[in-house]
Symmetry: C2
Subunit: 407 residues, 2 copies
């Protein structure tokens, strides 16, 4: 007997037929003698519709009311799946965020889970009952519904798995696992059997949208074994596990890309102590996140060129902030370019292997792809290139690191 | 300063434009210095969609899950209206059934309100805050969402008005008041300025679908002054009040009709003590409501013909029950007729006036309309006629009782 959390995303519960399909998978786990908690997203499209309503209702909407409205999508799915399960003869009941309760902090709209009461759930496991949680939601200290941010049902699932000390947390979705890179772009992309939390975290935050970043952090922190698998096919997916569970570690596990950033360059900034703060301070104050940063010292050593990236959606605001001379910032010109892509190679094996970066740079150079910015972390190397080279860069790197599938 | 409850039905909050229109009315009350609680239905069509989902999910669905799913419609509207009000500069917040809380019994799907906690709401009135309640819902003793049955938002509104000791409870809807009869059938129907609770109760249960019957019972019990008015026009509606508030009482106030019943006749039932119980007992056991009942003693005084009405939707089940001879019921033949209409004249003035029934019978006879069944109460006379005479009967009676408008 195992204790299992099964999470079904929006496309896996998009209509009643798919909810029935999900229920069949739940039934199979129950009939294997497992204790089962299910976490559901809203039916595909519902959350977008509700968010549209909220945004049309008021420009500066109250996040507590946003949560009240938007959480209703998962509420509906949890009730419907419970009914379908009962109809199949499975004892099941729905649990809303305030019923568990799943207690969060008061950051409405992007709340963090603080505690989950599971005693009653576990007692009901003993009676053979399946718990069907509405994902994405909890209850704040103000006694009102809170939501966890877009993609939050993944985080709900992992948090519930941690609280229940579940043996695994299966994330059913519309892809069959985590790939070495985007298979829509690189035909030879391979599905990975296993990936470490750290790598998944880099992949998730670098734009591979399979799992919410926060859910991976939480899985790593609590040692929850996460599996990403298809709800439409019967085959194993990708296990996200601790590094020591992976015997033979590839140096590079995957290659991610992100086309949502834009490049900003400030030319001939006066190079004095504190210049970085005078640029990034006002951006931070405007809640604009800066990702990659490069500073080139100029020939005369009196001015410097500063290049960095921001989210495309923030580009215009960033320019306004930087053009506001009241910040005391002095530079010759401001260039911006939204047509860039960030390409990242990721792998825990990098830690113990030299030459990984060199291989990346030469593979790109061979194809005539100019690298505009470089940033690195312990298990990741990211480069910024012109957006038009995205596909070529992904394919070249995928081959260079020996990731291509053999068929 | 007054304390006001404003209830907006599904067509009055059908989309964001209509929600803004409702918000304008709320704003006007707030700006008049009133304390305001609002009760909202789901956006028109939403509840039907959710009920469809539930019915497709499982044939014998769990009413607790039904409540979880179906209550989400009002949840969405309460959040959206709160955002729209805030956007207009009005301090407002949504209240779900479990937040007040509005405590009900455990009859999921058709729960009754037992208690409403209003201390916090009243305290917030003092801070100028408008309370926007999700109608139709409460929380049961099991800590799960309960709903009050279709049309239950009217009952929510009246119950909240009673708990708040509100000065009035305004029910905004897509008609501008209560009419002497259905204006779609009788062009000369008049809007009433006032109607008594008792008359409204008879009208509501006789098929005038403006107010949920239970909400009228509750208004009568607690003396809540209810006004039915249009959310699309600026004019007074119809006040539903205590009898002693109406100075000059018409003998007949209104004429209702109901085409949802079917007639059943059992011929030559053996007439022995207990025969009625042997017919209606099994029907009751099958949860089939019987409305009008007539028993004719036969010439030989040994058998009797029994005629009664059931809801059309229950007719086939009723026939099955009556044809099941294991009940010990003996009769010659069973006739049924779904093509009937019940016409009712209603008025508290009837109590002190003779000849009301006679006028009804002769008005119908003048038009050649045959009366099949008669039943009466203190303030109502109902007759069953062939369905095809519905419009003719309504118009004739409307004229006969002097209800026609003069324009």
């Amino acid at each position: 007997m195992a204790r299992v959390v099964m999470k079904f995303g929006g496309t896996s519960v998009a209509d009643l037929d798919r909810i029935r399909n999900a229920a069949q998978r739940v039934k199979r786990e129950v009939e294997s003698g497992n204790e089962v908690a299910v976490v559901v997203s809203a039916m595909a499209g519902v959350t977008n519709q509700l968010v549209d309503y909220v945004q049309s209702a008021g420009s500066l909407y109250d996040l507590r009311e946003y949560d009240t409205v938007v959480s209703s999508g998962e509420q509906v799915t949890s009730g419907l799946l419970s009914i379908v399960l009962q109809d199949m003869g499975i004892n099941a009941r729905s649990w809303l965020g305030w019923q568990g309760p799943i207690i969060t902090n008061d950051a409405h709209g992007s709340a963090r889970i603080e505690r989950i009461e599971v005693d009653d759930i576990i007692r009901r496991f003993g009676e053979g009952q399946v718990a069907v949680f509405a994902g994405f939601q909890g209850v704040g200290p103000d006694g009102r519904i809170s939501t966890l941010g877009r993609g939050g049902s993944d985080t709900s699932a992992v948090a519930i798995a941690a609280a229940l000390k579940a043996d695994r947390c299966d994330i059913y979705t519309d892809v069959d696992g985590i790939y070495t890179t985007d298979p829509r772009i690189v035909a030879k992309a391979r599905k990975m059997d296993k990936i470490t939390y750290e790598e998944m975290l880099e992949l998730a935050s670098q734009g591979a949208k399979v799992l919410q970043t926060r859910s991976v952090e939480m899985a790593m922190k609590h040692g929850v074994r996460v599996q990403v698998l298809s709800s439409f096919e019967d085959k194993p997916g990708t296990l996200v596990v601790d590094e020591d569970e992976i015997v033979e570690q590839a140096i590079v596990s995957g290659i991610a890309y992100n086309r949502d950033e834009a490049k900003v360059t400030l030319r001939s900034v006066r190079d004095t102590p504190g210049v970085a703060a005078s640029i990034f301070g006002p951006l931070m104050a405007a809640a604009i996140n800066v990702d990659m940063i490069v500073q080139n010292i100029s020939a005369d050593k009196k001015t410097t060129d500063m290049t960095f990236t921001v989210a495309k959606a923030d580009l215009n605001r960033a320019i306004s902030v930087l053009e506001d001379k009241s910040n005391g910032l002095t530079y010759d010109s401001l260039d911006s370019d939204p047509s860039v892509a960030k390409i990242s190679v990721i792998g825990v094996g990098m830690r113990s292997h030299a030459g990984v970066a060199q291989k990346m740079f030469s593979a790109l150079a061979d194809k005539g792809i100019n690298i505009e910015v470089i940033s690195t972390s312990e298990i990741k190397i990211s480069v910024l290139v012109a957006e038009e080279y995205t596909e070529l860069a992904l394919r070249s790197l995928h081959t260079a690191y020996g990731l291509d599938s053999e068929d």
